[in-house]
C-alpha cells in the first residue's frame, strides 16, 4: 500500500556537525492504512546507486528521539512508540562522510507487520535529490 509514496522527496540531505558532513538522511511514510508501533517495522532496506546502506549505520528518528535501526527490530522494543499514519519517519545514515549532493537512484524496501493481514513488503524505486 502506498508503495509509490513511501520514500519521500522531501528532506533528503546530508547531515552536518561543526561544518562537516557526518551522514545523510531521508524520510519515509508508512505502507499501511493506519499507524503502527515502531516494533512492527520488519525491514527497512535502502539501496542507493546500487549499494545497500549497512544496517548498522542506520538510525531512526521519531518524535525527537533516535534509535539504532537494529534496536527497533529487537524483541521487547516498546509497543507504544507509534509511527503515525502519514507521518515522516526519518532515517539517518551515519557513514562519516555524508552523501554527494545531487540525484541518486534509490530503492527502498519497507516491511511492516500487521495483525490480521500478511506482512506487507513495499518497494519504492525512484530518483531522489539529496541536498
Amino acid at each position: 500500500m502506498y508503495d509509490k509514496h513511501i520514500l519521500s522527496d522531501a528532506g533528503a540531505r546530508s547531515v552536518w556537525e561543526n561544518g562537516k558532513k557526518y551522514g545523510y538522511q531521508f524520510n519515509l511514510t508508512i505502507n499501511y492504512y493506519r499507524g503502527l508501533p515502531l516494533c512492527c517495522v520488519d525491514q527497512i532496506t535502502m539501496i542507493i546507486d546500487g549499494e545497500q546502506v549497512p544496517y548498522e549505520q542506520m538510525y531512526v528518528q521519531h518524535r525527537g528521539r533516535e534509535y539504532a535501526y537494529l534496536d527497533i527490530l529487537k524483541s521487547d522494543f516498546p509497543t507504544d512508540f507509534y509511527w503515525l499514519f502519514g507521518e515522516y519517519l526519518t532515517v539517518v545514515v551515519k557513514n562519516g562522510k555524508g552523501i554527494e549532493q545531487g540525484i541518486h537512484h534509490c530503492k527502498l524496501t519497507l516491511g511492516t507487520r500487521r495483525s490480521y493481514t500478511p506482512t506487507m513488503v513495499s518497494v519504492c524505486e525512484k530518483d531522489v535529490t539529496f541536498a
Binding site: 508503495d3 493506519r34 524483541s75 499514519f85 502519514g86
Partner: protein, 374 residues
C-alpha cells in the same frame, strides 16, 4: 446534522485516508467533510488520525468534543485493532491483548463513542490467521469492562459467511448468558460483493499490469450469474479465460474468483504464505441466504459498515446490490448507524488521485435515496 431516524448515517474517517496521508485534510477537515456530506455520525481510527494515541490528553479530547459540537455530529465508533504480532519473534500474551482491548474501551469512553469496533478472531473468517486475534476468551474478559463503561463491543463481520454464520453466534449467547448486553455483531457490506469491483480492476491494471479486458470479461460473467440468479460455472469461465491467453499478472488477479485457473509456476499467495487462507475453506453461502440472514438478524445488529469500493455512472455501488441490502436492514428492523466506509482509495490510488470526498458525498446521497429521504 442530527436526525430522529431509526437508521442514521455516519462516515468512517478511514474513507478519507489518502486526504489525511498526503496532508490535504487533517482530522478536523475530515470531520467537516463527513458533516458536509450530510452524515451525523463519525467513526475514527485512533491508530490513524488521533495523533496522541495511545496517550491522549484531555486537551485533545476537548478539541474532539468541540468539533462534534461545531459540526453537529456524534461520535459513533472507535476502531480497535488486534496487534498481537508486535515483534518478529514474539507475540503479545492473552493478558497483554486484553490490556490493549481495555485501552481502546477507555479511549472510546473519553471520546464519547458508544462502541468500539473489535477486530475479533472471526473477523475475516473462521480460521483466518496463523495467530489468534481478540478471541472469545479475551472478549469474555473484556465484556464486564465494556459494560462498566457502557461501551458496546461491536464485532465486525467481514466474512463471506455474514452475520448468520453459526460460528458468530457464541458472542450473542455470551451477552444473553451474562446479562451484559455490551457485545454484538456488526455487518459489513463486503459480505454482499457479487463481482470483482472496478476498483480492484483499476488496481490490478495499474500496479501489476494485468489485462483490463480479461478482468472485465470475468467480472461480466459474475454479474450475469448474480442477476441471472445462478451460480457461475467457475470451470467453464476459467476455460474461456484460458482461451484469451492471460498473462501471469492477470492470472494472479483472477485467483480469488477463479480458484481453478492455472497459477504461474511457484506462485504462493500472500495469504497462503501467512498460513491462513481460511477465507476459501467453506463455499460462500447463496445470496438468498445472506439477505435472509441479514433481515433475520437486523434488529440485533449493533452497527453497520456501508462498505463500497466504486460507484458507477448511475450513482450505484458497482459490485453490491444496495437496494436488496437496504431492504433487508429496513424490513428486519435495524436501528442504529450505517457508516460509509470507502475502501476504493487503497485500490485505485495506484492509478492516481482518488477523490474520496466526492465518493463519500455520492455514497451518502445514495443511502439517503435508498432510505426514501431524497
Amino acid at each position: 446534522m442530527k436526525t430522529n431516524y431509526d437508521i442514521k448515517l455516519g462516515v468512517s474517517l478511514y474513507s478519507y485516508q489518502d486526504n489525511y496521508y498526503f496532508h490535504r485534510y487533517d482530522i478536523e477537515g475530515c470531520i467537516a467533510a463527513a458533516a458536509g456530506a450530510g452524515a451525523e455520525g463519525i467513526e475514527v481510527f485512533s491508530d490513524a488520525m488521533i495523533p496522541e494515541w495511545p496517550y491522549v490528553s484531555d486537551a485533545w479530547i476537548d478539541k474532539w468534543n468541540a468539533w462534534m459540537y461545531r459540526y453537529d455530529v456524534n461520535p459513533v465508533c472507535l476502531d480497535h485493532f488486534s496487534d498481537r504480532q508486535m515483534w518478529h519473534d514474539k507475540e503479545l500474551t492473552d493478558d497483554e491483548m486484553f490490556e490493549r482491548g481495555v485501552m481502546y474501551i477507555k479511549l472510546a469512553k473519553r471520546l464519547g463513542c458508544p462502541a468500539i469496533r473489535v477486530l475479533h478472531e472471526e473477523h475475516t473468517s473462521e480460521h483466518a490467521m496463523n495467530c489468534r486475534l481478540t478471541d472469545y476468551g479475551i472478549i469474555e474478559r473484556l465484556l464486564p469492562i465494556a459494560a462498566e463503561n457502557e461501551i458496546m463491543l461491536s464485532l465486525e463481520v467481514h466474512t463471506q459467511d455474514g452475520v448468520g454464520a453459526d460460528y458468530q453466534q457464541k458472542y450473542i449467547e455470551l451477552a444473553e448468558k451474562t446479562g451484559m448486553p455490551y457485545v454484538g455483531l456488526q455487518a459489513d457490506f463486503s459480505t454482499f460483493s457479487y463481482c470483482m469491483s472496478t476498483a480492484d480492476i483499476v488496481n490490478a491494471v495499474a500496479s501489476t499490469g494485468a489485462e483490463k479486458e480479461i478482468l472485465m470479461a470475468a467480472r461480466e460473467e459474475q454479474r450475469k450469474a448474480y442477476f441471472g440468479g445462478y451460480e457461475m460455472d467457475r470451470e467453464a469461465v476459467a476455460a474461456e479465460i484460458e482461451k484469451m491467453h492471460p498473462s501471469d499478472a492477470t492470472r494472479i488477479a483472477l485467483a480469488r474468483i477463479l480458484p481453478n485457473i492455472k497459477m504461474p509456476e511457484g506462485y504462493v499467495s500472500p495469504w497462503a504464505r501467512m498460513g491462513g487462507g481460511g477465507r476459501a475453506r467453506r463455499p460462500k453461502p447463496s445470496f438468498e441466504k445472506l439477505y435472509s440472514d441479514l433481515e433475520q438478524w437486523a434488529s440485533k445488529l449493533v452497527y453497520v459498515h456501508g462498505k463500497f469500493y466504486d460507484i458507477d455512472e448511475n450513482g450505484q455501488v458497482d459490485d453490491m446490490d444496495y437496494p436488496r441490502i437496504f431492504k433487508a436492514l429496513v424490513d428486519g428492523g435495524y436501528k442504529g448507524y450505517i457508516s460509509s466506509e470507502f475502501e476504493g482509495n487503497r485500490r485505485m490510488n495506484m492509478a492516481g488521485w482518488c477523490d474520496e470526498i466526492e465518493y463519500v458525498r455520492k455514497h451518502q446521497k445514495l443511502m439517503r435515496t435508498l432510505l426514501g429521504r431524497e
